[in-house]
Each structure stands twice: as structure tokens, then as C-alpha cells.
Amino acid sequence: MSHTEARLDQMRGAVPPRPHNARTIAALTSNPGCVRRAILDAAGVDKPKLAAAAGFPAPFGQSRFAITRGNAFEAQVKANGCAELLRLLREQLGLPVPEVSYDDLEEVAASRSLQLRHSRTRQLLTRAAGSGTDAGTLFDHPLLALEVGGRLAYLEPDLIAFRLRGQFHVVEIKSFAAIDGQADSGKVAAAAIQSAVYVLALRQLLADVGGAGLVADEVFLICPENFSNQPMAARLDVRKELTVLRRQLSRLDFIAELVEAFPPGISFDLEADDAGVPRRPAAELADALAMLPARYMPECLASCEVCRFCRNEAQATTAALGRTVREDLGGVEYVDTALGLASGDLEPDLDTEDAAAILQTAARMRAESLGAAG
């Protein structure tokens, strides 16, 4: 185990690590500048638990209805050897009729052991990559692996890799509806970046047998059409997502340097007592969190479990009001500074001269206009 890993394990403490998954890997691209998040993920800290323990529980949960619907739809699409999926692939993508072979990789010999499933996945997919004929078409729940910041993360895609015209394609099954050809663009984006993670992992798996080129950078999104349960397929070009992911993954070695920057004592140990309550007091965890520099922006509220903590910390900053607000305030970091410069009470320095000038004009105009009101 490398020195860095040792340090990270030490930060996480007695509890087992929370390995990366497609979501957390995708999240690397949603706020890549945030050291706090990078380190917590690298150390495999349970962020929701940490946030709650530090007194700032994450503002979001998942509705039981959404989960049920998601599972039901996936099950329906995959039922009877993926009968519905086969229809879509045949009708919309010209999958030849003989291509119906189905391999279930969610269980291997009635066991769900990750190593077993992964080796089985590798075995079947490399065989498929090797030979053209009789090599399988649909692979249900293959278990892929990707190295993230020096650690191996197993990816358990709720998806199937299938072969069409000699290439592997990733299929992502989502239960949000596409109505008259339009779906929630945020959810589609999330699906695209997640699928891109799978594409990367699949390429890494096949690279050993020189088959990386066999994985298409076009993935297929399966979702319900209009208001019905009928599935439809859409093509997603994930080349952009792949570039961004590759870059962010390649940057992760900076974690090593980051870790060095922090005192050895720093710990996010969430070891719990019998009642399931972490032993360490909230204040201690909060102090530890505060030692990791964050890059808070309001967008975090939708994506990161620690957001409430960071927001509270960032209260006085212009960034907390929104990235454009900060930009419009001339990049001044603190609200009070901005107002001080605007009112002229604060003497601008070299950094803030320009901002001061604009802020004062703005202040003047607001005052004038409000005055005009009477």
C-alpha cells in the first residue's frame, strides 16, 4: 500500500472505505476544483454520514417511488432474455436476428462475489472480443473495474454491453421519460457521463487483449417513451464526456501532493457506537472538515452531500450568491469587501481598483434610481 493510501486510510479511520462508483467518478467532473470533495472521495469516506455527523445532513434523499419505478422498468426491459431490448435494437439499430445470445453476469454460480463476477465478465468479454462468432451479444450486469486515484473501483453498471457490427456498445437503462423526443436534459447529461465511465472501464478491460478500439464511443440510452412504459432507444455521443473524464482521472495523482499538505492528525473517523451514532463529537469532525479547502458554489447543493457544511462556511463570500454574481462583483471574494468598495468606505488596493470603480458606478446608479422613486 502506497504512502498516500496509508494516509487516506488513516483519515477515514476504522470504518471500511466507500469505494468509488460510476456516480462518484462522474461527480469528479461536476466540481473538479474542490479539494475537500476530492480527498473525501479518495479516502472513501461516507460523505452523507460525515455531513450528518458534523451537523449538516445532506438535503436530498431518494424517493421510494423513484427507486421502485427504476427497478421495475429495468426488469421489464430485460425480462425474458431482454425481449423488449432486442426488439428496440433490431428495429432501430438493425441488430441481426441471430444475435440473441444472453449472459447473466449478476450472479456467477449463484454467487455475487465481486471478484468472481469480475473475472467472469473479463472472461466472457475478452472471448467475445477475440472471436467473431458465437461470442455472445447481451451481457447483463457485467462487473467492470476502473483504477481511480490508485484504487480499484468496481463498477456495477445497471447496463448491458452488446455487440453490433463488431463493436461493443454500452446500454444505459433509465426510467425518466422521453416525451415527444425530449427528456430532462440534466438527467440525460448525467446518464451520458455515467455511461462514459462504463465505456472507459470497458476499454480498460479489453485493452489487455488489444480490444480497446472495439468499444464504441456512442452509447444507447433506453428510457420510457412518452407517458407509457414502452421503452425507446436513443443514441448518445459521449466523446466529450470521455475527454473530460480522462482528463480529470489523470489529474487525480495530485491527491498525493494534496494529502501531504495536511497535518497527520486529521481524521474523519465515523466509527459508530452500538446505537449507530459516530463516537467522535460533531465539533471535532467539523474542525477536521474545515481543514480541507472547499470550492463552494450554489450548484453543489444539487450534487454534493457535504454542501450544507460548505455553504455555511462560505456564508460571507460572494461565491455563495452564485458564480455569475461573484464575476459581476468584479471577482471580489467577500460580500463586505464588495460593499465597502462600492460605498467608498474601503480603500481599494491594486487588486480591487477596477472592481471598485465599477461597483461605485453601480452603487451610484442604484442610489440615483431609488432616489428617483422619491
Partner: protein, 500 residues
């Protein structure tokens, strides 16, 4: 966003209360608006769960879908909703007045029009999709639905389309209009939470804005305004109640289960209901901007023409998507509406104008010199062209030759003759030539030419009428755009499309 609004947010943050972004109200508020707050079932495609609706603050009507996954119950909900919404809308389609429509023609226009308030853009999106899922339905044959359902669908679709139209207020999102008039001390994303936004503008008694905004994020005190519900509510309250409803056998048990559901859902909706009426009252209290009436006239015209479309002719439902020509035409409408909405707001409201003074498209200053009786002798006949010099410290970007109008003198054309930049710290001197609005003679009528010392605000945004751009007829859609489309008639699959 702009430095002005950013500054307002910063001030709100520091001062602990919302700051005005407008001195006048930029939307019409109807005497009897309809408040409509829908909730959707998580995970499903726009499946209605409940709605609170009504045009009187003290008598909300609660509609509930006891088993949201049941197709029939959904259509029952739609029918019930229709029986509230459609009469409300058509209630305004009674008294008409005649208005000139150019060329001596007159067109009838209803005196009044409906106005629907929903909490947010997301709610409007729900209404749009509810319209989409109901407008194609058939009232006969297989999968027949209540006669009111497809009518509701058409109306919701109409309103949702209208809501994309800049400056229209037939269908309004509360959070949107509120943040048009007030800057909170939080981010725009947080403003999407109606309770949090209202907390900054009018905190409930005893709380500071900051405390109120914090409380507004606790779904137990302030349930989300919808259409999405709080997952905690889904898991801990709603799911058990729906299961209980499913298990209940016997009339009494069923009644109990229904009552429990209704109780839980109205508890989720009532807080938002209150917020909605408070925000309407807040807006109503502001004085209306000068052009608000004009835009409301356009809304009434739009309402009138859709009513007559439904009444005479087969009143086909709106197509699923715009065709090539329809899309292009709509885009040009929207762009023109956008431009005039922005200009109208600026001329109505010094704070809105300030945005353009910041960007240099407008400027304000004092008249330092005036030649009220200057004549232009270059042409065949002499014309009255007074000139004035205005000193301003605004950062203007307008150049020589630009057409301007003064906020206080809309009938008078003004053209920039020269701009003399003052030295550092010195004001800029702008020489302006005036035409029109001064009477017929060669001598300006008194008061028609600004006098020395007068404070004026000139703006280069075109306020006047913009010519309508014309497009080919739909059946002449050119080959570059796929050629003439097959006319969009509602097909069987539209009518029977399952909703599950």
C-alpha cells in the same frame, strides 16, 4: 445578471433583507387570479399526485389521486381538474370590446382574461406535460375519457406556450416574477424555493430573513412547492398511506384511507398555498409600470383568439412539436417580444433603465446648453431641429448618429450629433438633435424642448413597433427544411397512448 443586480444581492445579504430590483410592477395582476399548485408522484412520467387550486385565498380546493399509478384515477383527476380550470378560464370569455386592428378594421377582444399563478417554472412544466398527455384524448370509442379532459389539455397547452412569451402574464411562475422585483441575499438557485425566496422578501412574524430562509429549507416546516415532493414525505408518509389505501377493503376502510391521504397531502400543500397568495398581495401592492396595460392587452388578444379558435372550427389540439415554419415564426415572435419587453421595462422603471446605463446603451445627465430655435436649412425647406447638450458621468457606449428617446419625452426623436469625452473625472458632453413633438410651426412650443438644468435620461433601445417578419406558408416549407410536412392530425396512437 449584471453588476447592479449582483450588488443588490450583496446588499440584501449584508443587510439581511431583500432589496428592490424594480420600482414598479412589471406584470398585470388580475382581480381574480387562479392559484394552481400541482404535486407529482416521484419517478413516474408526470403522474399527478395531488393539486391545490382555487381563486379565493380562503377556499382552496384539494384534488387527490389516491392511487397515482392507476390510469383511470389519473384521468378522473384530470376530469376533476378540468371542472375547476375550464369554467374559470371560459368565465372570462363573455364581455368583448371592439379594438382597431389596422386598416379601419376592428376586432373583438375580451375585456377580461384569466391569470393562473403557479409556484415555479417546474410547476409550469408540469402543467405543460399534463396538457400534452390529455389534449389528444378521445371522448368516444376505446379508451374514451371525460369530455372535459381534452379541453383541459388544450387550455393547459395554450397557457404553457403563452408562458414562454416574454412579458406575458396569463400563466405566471411566482418565484420568477418575485425575483424580477426583489433581490434576495441568497443564490438564484436557492431562489427557486418559493418559501426561501419569500423568507427574504417578507419573513413570517418574529423571524429574521436569515432565520426564515433557513427554516424554509426544512421540508417539515415548509414542504416543497412542487411538483416534486420531499423524499422523506414519500417514504415515511405517502408510501404507507397509499399502501393502506391499496389494502383497505370495505367502504368504511376505504373512506378512512382516503381521508388519511387527503389530510397528509393538504398538509403538504397548504403552506405553499399561503405563500402564493402572499406573493400575489405583495406584487399587487406595487404601482404598475407604464407598459403593463399594453402587454395585458396583448394577453387578452391572445386569449380571445384562442377562445374563438376553440369555438368555431374543429379546434384541433396543438401538435406535439412545432413544424419548421411554425418554429421559425414563433422564434421571431419571441425575439421581438423579448426586445420590446426589455425596452418597455427600462422606460417604465429607473432601476431597469440603470442596467442599460451601466452597459452604456442609455445615459442620464443634466442639460447644460440648449438651442431651442435652431433651424436646419440644409434641405429644400427649413425645419426645426433644436439641439441640446447633456453632461453625463455614465459610461456610455452609444456613438454619433444613434437614435435615442428620452424617458420623459417619448414622442420626440433625438439623434446624437457628437460625443466629447471629458478628461479623467470630467463628465462626457453629448450633443443631441431633436425632431418631432414640438408643434407644427418653426418655433418650438414652450416646454417641448428640454431646458438648461433639466435632468434627462436618454435610451437607445427601440421602443416602437417592429415590422413583422414573414415566412413561407407551411405547405411551402422549402427542401432545405424537409419540404412541406404532412399535416399534423391527431392520430389514434395519440388518443389511446397509455399513461402508466
Amino acid at each position: 445578471m449584471s453588476t447592479l443586480t449582483a450588488l443588490a444581492r450583496a446588499q440584501a445579504r449584508a443587510g439581511g433583507e431583500a432589496q428592490p430590483l424594480a420600482l414598479v410592477r412589471h406584470l398585470h395582476i388580475a382581480e381574480r387570479p387562479l392559484v394552481f399548485i400541482p404535486l407529482a408522484l416521484a419517478g413516474e412520467a408526470n403522474a399527478p399526485l395531488a393539486a391545490m387550486i382555487g381563486d379565493e385565498a380562503d377556499s382552496p380546493r384539494l384534488l387527490v389521486v389516491n392511487q397515482p399509478r392507476n390510469r383511470d384515477e389519473r384521468f378522473a383527476f384530470a376530469a376533476e381538474l378540468a371542472r375547476v380550470v375550464v369554467p374559470y378560464l371560459e368565465g372570462f370569455a363573455t364581455q368583448a370590446e371592439d379594438v382597431a386592428s389596422g386598416g379601419g378594421e376592428t376586432r373583438p377582444r375580451f375585456r377580461y382574461a384569466p391569470q393562473v399563478f403557479m409556484p415555479s417554472r417546474a410547476s409550469i412544466g408540469f402543467a405543460r406535460l399534463l396538457g400534452r398527455s390529455t389534449r389528444f384524448r378521445r371522448t368516444d370509442g376505446e379508451y374514451a375519457v371525460d369530455a372535459a379532459v381534452p379541453v383541459l389539455g388544450r387550455w393547459l397547452s395554450f397557457l404553457a406556450e403563452r408562458a414562454e412569451h416574454p412579458g406575458s402574464c396569463l400563466l405566471v411562475a411566482a418565484t420568477e416574477v418575485l425575483s424580477l422585483h426583489w433581490a434576495s441575499g441568497q443564490s438564484g438557485l436557492e431562489d427557486l424555493n418559493l418559501a426561501a425566496l419569500m423568507a427574504w422578501i417578507e419573513p413570517p412574524g418574529g423571524l429574521t430573513c436569515l432565520q426564515a430562509a433557513a427554516a424554509a429549507e426544512d421540508p417539515l416546516q415548509w414542504p416543497p412547492a412542487g411538483p416534486a415532493t420531499d423524499p422523506g414525505f414519500d417514504n415515511e408518509v405517502l408510501a404507507p398511506l397509499i399502501d393502506a389505501y391499496g389494502r383497505a377493503d370495505g367502504a368504511a376502510a376505504l373512506q378512512r384511507a382516503e381521508a388519511a391521504l387527503a389530510r397528509a397531502l393538504s398538509a403538504q400543500l397548504l403552506p405553499t398555498w399561503g405563500l402564493m397568495w402572499r406573493s400575489i398581495a405583495l406584487l399587487r401592492a406595487l404601482p404598475a409600470g407604464g407598459h403593463v396595460g399594453k402587454r395585458w392587452d396583448e394577453d387578452r388578444a391572445a386569449f380571445t383568439s384562442y377562445v374563438s379558435y376553440l369555438r368555431d372550427g374543429d379546434g384541433l389540439p396543438q401538435p406535439r412539436r412545432d413544424g419548421a415554419v411554425a418554429a421559425a415564426r414563433r422564434l421571431s415572435w419571441l425575439e421581438r417580444a423579448q426586445a420590446s419587453y426589455a425596452a418597455q421595462r427600462a422606460f417604465d422603471d429607473p432601476l431597469a433603465m440603470a442596467e442599460f446605463r451601466m452597459s452604456g446603451e442609455a445615459f442620464a445627465g443634466r442639460v447644460v446648453a440648449a438651442e431651442p430655435d435652431r433651424l436646419d436649412t440644409s434641405g429644400r425647406r427649413r425645419t426645426l431641429r433644436p439641439r441640446i447638450t447633456v453632461e453625463t458621468t455614465d459610461p456610455l457606449t452609444v456613438e454619433t448618429g444613434t437614435e435615442l428617446r428620452a424617458v420623459t419625452r417619448l414622442t420626440q426623436r433625438a439623434t446624437i450629433v457628437s460625443v466629447e469625452p471629458g478628461g479623467p473625472g470630467e463628465p462626457i458632453r453629448v450633443v443631441i438633435e431633436l425632431a418631432g413633438g414640438m408643434g407644427r410651426s418653426l418655433v418650438a412650443e414652450p416646454g417641448t424642448v428640454p431646458e438648461t438644468g433639466e435632468w434627462l435620461c436618454y435610451c437607445s433601445l427601440p421602443l416602437g413597433y417592429q415590422p413583422v417578419t414573414d415566412f413561407p406558408a407551411t405547405n411551402e416549407t422549402p427542401w432545405t427544411h424537409g419540404g412541406p410536412p404532412v399535416p399534423a392530425l391527431p392520430a389514434d396512437e395519440d388518443a389511446v397512448e397509455d399513461w402508466s
